[in-house]
């Protein structure tokens, strides 16, 4: 198996070689589970020094999906590489004082607790900005800090449920809509949002000298990514909007079950399927491919390749007329029959030759060995203290002048407590005392 260039570089480099546009920036991460930790990974990819402050029991996600040792799981490693771990008990005065001393010399604080927790632990913005007025404080909540659900707990699956993602996908499983489970996408979107906000705030601080507090939420990012569905224009009502305004209240009042409502919902929202034949997966003679033609020129090329006529390209054609819908349905079946006659390889050669966007459908497990991923340095290899050699997804951008280099694996619980306290100016004796009192652990 060929290793990427980044992987080779990782082998030779030590932690001291810091690169990336955020070189010299220090982040204190008081976060758990996924969304907050993902932001820490990305910030570390950008070159920041990320210190993960963990409670005595550790980030609960250490026992998340795929546990293989005490306090270590695959899921934890995936969203905590690039960080150092310090273990402090913030309910103890000394532990809290140590956290405050870390914040004195930091640039960024990231939290993702329930809104009332930071103040209880002494890590709220008011407290920390009094200690370090230049601090940039990013707080990810579940549903925002205002409104009836502001205190509610937030997890990807709840955000999917609450924001309509789950209903809209409508993958029914044992009688109820199932979550999208490939990726906790709302968590990842929120992680991205924290990073972009923090970087924008760093730029602003560089110009103005001022730090600030930034709040984002799972709901905010679920909705951002759902913007396409949320754009409603009175005067141009969509079928889903009409359905929501007129049918839904009636159906609920009439006491229909959610399953019955669901069936009606999917029917109502399948308006975009007119051009479905050009943007979907197909069964070939020996496997699966996906085609993705989002504009008429591309659709025409695909029609030529597969060799069928689509009269809907005529100017002024009414896609919504009943005979148009019937035409679309018939054509769909015909195209399926045509595509199943050749192998995936045949189709991909044909489509690529004609400039039609098309790709094979694959399993995620094959990607680490994927030539494309390797060629673009997307797969890195790290040595983990408990897991040994492991492959992970690396940084997702290349910078021409400040190249990114993911070096640190995810830390053992409290692995760097003594090291970080030492850097913060605690003497050897003081560190020993903190460890003995249990205010710091590791």
């Amino acid at each position: 198996m060929g290793r990427s260039a980044t992987t080779e570089r990782n082998r030779e480099r030590k932690f001291s070689r810091m690169t990336g546009p955020l070189d010299g920036v220090r982040v204190i991460e008081f976060t758990e589970i996924i969304a907050g930790p993902v932001s820490g990974v990305m910030l570390s990819d950008l070159g920041a020094d990320v210190i993960k402050v963990e409670p005595p029991w550790g980030d609960p996600w250490r026992d998340g999906g795929g546990p293989f040792a005490e306090h270590e799981s695959r899921a934890f490693i995936a969203v905590n590489r690039g960080k150092r771990s310090i273990q402090l008990d913030l309910t103890k005065g000394d532990g809290r004082a140590a956290a405050h001393r870390l914040v004195e010399n930091a640039d960024i604080v990231v939290t993702n607790h329930r809104p009332d927790v930071p103040a209880k632990l002494g890590i709220d913005y008011d407290t920390l900005s009094a200690i370090n007025p230049r601090i940039i404080y990013a707080e990810a909540s579940a549903y925002g800090l205002k409104g009836p659900y502001s205190g509610g707990p937030g997890y990807d699956v709840l955000a999917q449920a609450f924001s309509g993602i789950m209903q809209s996908e409508g993958i029914m499983w044992r009688g109820v809509p199932r979550m999208i489970r490939t990726t906790p996408f709302v968590d990842f979107a929120t992680g991205y949002a924290i990073v972009q906000s923090v970087c924008a705030a760093l730029y602003h601080r560089e110009k103005s000298g001022r730090g600030q507090k930034i709040g984002t939420s799972l709901l905010a990012n679920a909705m951002t990514t759902l913007s396409g569905h949320l754009a409603r224009i009175p005067g141009n009502p969509t079928k889903p909007q009409q359905w929501h305004d007129e049918d839904l209240p009636m159906l609920r009042q009439a006491g229909l079950s959610d399953n019955e409502i669901n069936d009606l919902y999917y029917e109502a929202r399948w308006f975009p399927s007119a051009m479905l034949i050009y943007y979907r997966p197909y069964r070939t003679e020996d496997g699966l491919i996906a085609v993705a033609c989002l504009s008429d020129p591309l659709r025409k090329r695909m029609a030529d390749c597969v060799d069928f006529e689509d009269r809907r390209f005529q100017p002024g054609y009414d896609l919504e007329a009943p005979e148009s819908v019937e035409f679309a349905d018939d054509l769909l079946v015909r195209v399926e029959e045509l595509i199943v006659e050749k192998t995936s390889e045949d189709w991909l050669r044909l489509f690529h030759g004609a400039g039609v966007p098309a790709m094979p459908v694959q399993f995620v497990e094959g990607l680490l060995d994927n030539e494309q991923a390797q060629a673009n340095d997307l797969v890195i290899e790290q040595d983990h203290h408990a897991a040994g050699k492991m492959q992970l997804v690396g940084p997702n951008a290349n910078f021409s002048d400040t190249p990114l280099d993911a070096v640190l694996p995810s830390p053992a619980l409290g692995q760097h407590t003594a090291e970080i306290l030492g850097e913060a100016g605690y003497s050897g004796d003081e560190i020993t005392a903190l460890l003995e009192s249990g205010a710091a652990l590791g």
Partner: protein, 436 residues
Amino acid sequence: MTGPLEGIRVIEFSQIIAGPVSGLLLSDLGADIIKVEPPWGDPWRAGIAPITDSESKGFITVNRGKRSVCLDLNSEEGQAIVHRLVSQADVVTVNNRADVLDALKIDYDTLKKIKPDLVYSEITAFGRQGPFAGNPGYDLLMQGLTGIMAAEGNMDGYQYGDQKLNEGVPRYLSVMPMVDYATGYSVVQSVCAALFHRERTGQGQKIETSLFANALTIQGLSLTQVENAPSPTFDFVQNELPLLREAGLTYREIDAIYRERRPTPFGAFIYYRSYQTADQVITLGCLSEPLRKRAADCLGVTDIRFDEGYDPTTEQSIEFAFTLARKVEEMIKEKTAEEWLRIFNAAGVPAAPLLYIEEMIDHPQSHATGMIIEQQHPVGGRVRYAGPLSRWSETQPEPVRISPARGEHTREVLSEAGYSQAEIEAFHKVGSAKTG
């Protein structure tokens, strides 16, 4: 103050979704976004839910906050105008093929000579290296190629009237183009980090990211393989899959085997899934042991999986898990959604009602957090959609603009760039710049 990027100017050459999403998010952060469109406009103007030939809801959604300048970059005059705009800008975003960038003279090497500290962000489909380097990329292809579609594995097809479409092949996730959005986010974080770096060092630079890179990033949890403890699904893909494909099994047959190899059968989850209550559907989201125990207490069930030394792989364990799941399903049907939410909330168990996306537009939670903004579109009328996704204590961004008509701001922007009215009229006449 209108956001941390106030005073930053971005020239957006990118089209369709991923690139434009980055422009939208940058405008939310306070940057001035100039969208340079070809004479025929961004093809996404004719995207989903069309209003006119050059306006659609798909386009409006990802292009608010921008001004539009319409230029013909195949003409030397158009190129000269763009170069003047770039000389007065901070950031350029592109998502074209490499040969197109060169032909239009908007490649990094050319623009860097004009503006040495330029931050140049390039989105490709697959990166500039590797066997797929030149291939086009769309969200759907990434879903298929990177395993998103296969992992969701929903092959029931779409109900359309009385027939099912797409049966037997995995459905794509259609509620949002998640890979496009992830890539848009990624561009913004890179651009902001590069602006910070430029502020400290005076250096600009080129940043590349790809749909492919971000598709992998958001699947980081699935991809975490520990080499000395490989998962059954990795073993399956590496060892069994090639044989099954060679043997000519259908996708449905292969999928069934893939699903069996999952370490925890999906059906065994009881703490992180949705449930039918006596009336509506609710969702539970317990990801840690203490929360799961609280949920079990609320339900009054004993779960042997909390026992010390529990082995999840034995046949009895799996049998237990499925039996318990069925039992809990029956229990939850006995009370209404409201009752269960009250019980779970009181006990600190993460739970939420299941809503439709359309309900978000009027939901008190969306409004309380300022997540729904309302604007007037000259053609479309009132538009309501998701607003800026973060709150800032010092530099709160404000969405100021609706998405522009094609070339709506050509005159205004060229005039700001120092062109005279006579020059602008001349450009319009020959077609190198279109004034709307």
